[in-house]
Amino acid sequence: MDQKGYRRGSFQSSTSDEDMLEIAGASLDFSMADDDPPLDREMGGFSSYNGGGMNGTSTMMDFLEEPLPGVGTYEDFNTIDWVREKSRDRDRHREITSRSKESTWALIHSVSDAFSGWLLMLLIGLLAGSLAGLIDISAHWMTDLKEGVCLAGFWFNHEHCCWKSNTTFTDRDKCPEWKSWSQLILGHGEGAFAYILNYFMYVLWALLFSLLAVLLVKGFAPYACGSGIPEIKTILSGFIIRGYLGKWTLVIKTITLVLAVSSGLSLGKEGPLVHVACCCGNILCHLFTKYRKNEAKRREVLSAAAAAGVSVAFGAPIGGVLFSLEEVSYYFPLKTLWRSFFAALVAAFTLRSINPFGNSRLVLFYVEFHMPWHLLELVPFILLGIFGGLWGAFFIRSNIAWCRRRKTTRLGKYPVLEVLVVTAITALLAFPNEYTRMSTSELISELFNDCGILDSSKLCEYVNDFNSTKGDDLPDRAAGPGVYTAMWQLALALIMKVFITIFTFGMKVPSGLFIPSMAVGAIAGRLLGVAVEQLAFYHHDWAIFSGWCSPGADCITPGLYAMVGAAACLGGVTRMTVSLVVIMFELTGGLEYIVPLMAAAMTSKWVADAIGREGIYDAHIRLNGYPFLEAKEEFSHKTLAMDVMRPRRNDPPLTVITQDSMTVEDVETIINDTTYSGYPVVVSRESQRLVGFVLRRDLIISIENARKKQDGIVSTSIIYFTEHSPPLPPSSPSMLKLRSILDLSPFTVTDQTPMEIVVDIFRKLGLRQCLVTHNGKLLGIITKKDVLKHIAQLANQDPDSILFN
């Protein structure tokens, strides 16, 4: 009839019009078997619902009746319906506001409801900060436990043990209270045998820690392994993973993170700290009804908690908020921006007051120098960016290949053994080289350090000319032998870290990525920085140096190169842009270095994007098949909605429920025979006109509840979704009204809608499914999984890898 009005765009699919003709040819019948039959008060089986109200109040009564517990909740591994959650929250808010005018108690209730968000943020910040302090202090102590023990109190780590005593200028580590294991066991610390004993104890402690970690993870909370950020990204986009942010996961993740970091494995704690903070957020949400019952509001809180997590990891509150905005969150309403910042600040302040590093700094590798840099140095910085991009792409490819192997072959059957083997290899290779023996954060801290006259480490062993020192400002000097030794040791450390991190990330212990990538970048940066410095010193008469680097001036700062290298590598792996630069400049405390950092970050992102499109977290999401609809990619194919919808041509027709002609038994048969998560409700099978959409879970709960609690409901009772019960002879059993679980406003598109628009709708509104109509009649359904499979198919990936619902 009206087909010309519905044609849009291409006429490619004209052949499928024959199928649609039979539907369009059905009689357009506006008869009484329709939406609102005249009022029939005889079938008053549910007078308690409709009691008294025949005009407008029936909607109010339906709304105010308490829904059954379980209705409106979601099953595990399912996607939430954002639209429904948001509208439920708005309804709740409206109700509270309207009630607040009635009594003082209701007014107080509405005020406290408004404040509950802020109180929740405060609590999340406090808890996240405290846990971060606990993790930092314990990790520090346990890392040093591999090398020795403090006699003045076993709970002190090396630095705190020697705090009180006078150490010498050259040997700042030695003090009488700290005993290495060989000193404790043998009585002396020198000699080959003592070295072997130290080596042996180091490997033993490392194995013990990692064994404990993997056993605790396997035994108590298997969800606590890995980084956590890919899964949190998926959860924040609307997926439900029950138990992923639970109490046990929190406890086990905190404990095993310390163990994993202390065992010397090449992993960091920033990613798991985000998971820990989100667990805190989820647990504290249970205190407030507003957040406990509503999945969409809860995800706002989780975004803020993720910001607090990054903030305590790096001491960068603004960077944390931007990280949450850019990397982790899917919908980030502006209202949560202020609240996230508040949570991040409270967390950072709590951590500062616990003072884990003894100098009021939040991070070990805070940079305090402010030496100027020259424009010509942008060339090496861009080189570092290219290195970062190349390394990032290489790491992502190899790590994904290794993780895929772990998933599909027998390697995955021995997680405990795998952890032990990797730890053994790491410890055996790490001990001989002093730069891998120290913890990675300390390594980064030392590499970021600018050498002054007060430093006596090997890396700062330049040839000094004492007569020309003026204050603390040392000129560029020739490298002494110590520097050359440090260089090749660092090169070996670089190679080792590049390869071992591939096998470490993704193991069954909590593992983060930030610190190892920063370490790789910092080592590369420092090597390049020292090379440039020596080049400028020995060839100060070359044209490129003579302009700005006269002999006796301090022009090149290798510490800055290390920082830029760290930023480049981190950007290459995670593809962070703004948040990376902001985190780095909050680490340095100033805006001087923003241009080098940005140059390196941009270069590394471009180089890495040219090789592979996805960052590490997106790659892991795709590897695991999570139903994550990428928000940043454009969909640029010309397919239509009817190419993607189900049922396809040769499939059986769409399973629908009619609005008032099916019995309880029919519905139960449908539920048992099919596994769909929801069913459209139509007026009748002939007309296929859409009434609404009902979810499987809600149907099951309501029917079971009705069978138990309501009298008269048997298998032949009619289920109706209309406002008033259909007319039936009085001898039939009482009917079951399920209008309250029906979604009366499902989203529909026509079959000719281009898929670009459909994908956009799914992304922007957070839909779970979308019905497809043709000429006003229901034709099929598109679910989020169908959309993901379609995108995967068009990108020539395996569409069967989309596992979840």
Partner: protein, 202 residues
């Protein structure tokens, strides 16, 4: 070790997984961690002024520590005995760098002890679950139905989980047992998802 992977019903040593008790535990943890730094214990052990002086002429480098307050933390107060004669003191002190540092030994001690006790408790609980639990549970083996898979997941997950014997969980003990049983089932499900089917987190 195999029994550990398929735990049976528990006894009274269960850690209470109920909501209120664990929240109380969290609050207690917070209160234990926050007051020590809030007090800012200024015992003499915990503050110091650290001055690092580099090699100067023929004097080697040296590090000086002393407990002084922040206003006295400078080269003149801390560097004793002064290695250079009076007219050189100013030049020497210009090279030295003095920093005031504070720490809280109580915080460190408390945190390490809390951490070790939590690890110890978890290890004990794990040992209990592996060794003691199966011995106690031997007579009541297989009270749970053997695994149906995803087909019955809907019905099972939605209906309130019935206690195996059908009795109502009235006493605190039985409620705790029920909670622990639910928790064990959850962990088992998670373990299957992550370790066996590799559906997540690889």
């Amino acid at each position: 070790f195999c029994e550990f992977l398929f735990p049976q019903v528990s006894t009274m040593f269960a850690q209470c997984t109920q909501k209120g008790a664990s929240l109380v535990l969290l609050m207690v943890l917070l209160c234990c961690i926050l007051p020590p730094p809030a007090q800012a214990s200024k015992s003499s052990e915990d503050i110091r002024c650290k001055c690092i002086c580099p090699p100067y002429r023929n004097i080697s480098g040296h590090i000086y520590n002393k407990n002084v307050s922040q206003k006295d933390c400078n080269c003149l107060h801390v560097v004793e005995p002064m290695p250079v004669p009076g007219n050189d003191v100013e030049a020497y002190c210009l090279l030295c760098e003095c920093k005031y540092e504070e720490r809280s030994t109580t915080t460190i001690k408390v945190i390490i002890i809390i951490y070790l006790s939590v690890v110890g408790a978890l290890l004990l609980y794990m040992a209990f679950l592996v060794l003691v639990d199966p011995l106690i549970r031997k007579p009541d083996a297989y009270t749970q139905p053997l695994h149906n898979e995803e087909e019955n997941e809907d019905a099972r997950s939605l209906a309130a989980v019935p206690t195996p014997s059908g009795a109502r969980a009235n006493t605190v003990l039985e409620r705790v047992e029920g909670a622990q049983q639910r928790w064990k089932r959850q962990v088992q499900e998670q373990r299957k998802t992550v370790f066996d089917r590799h559906k997540m987190l690889s």
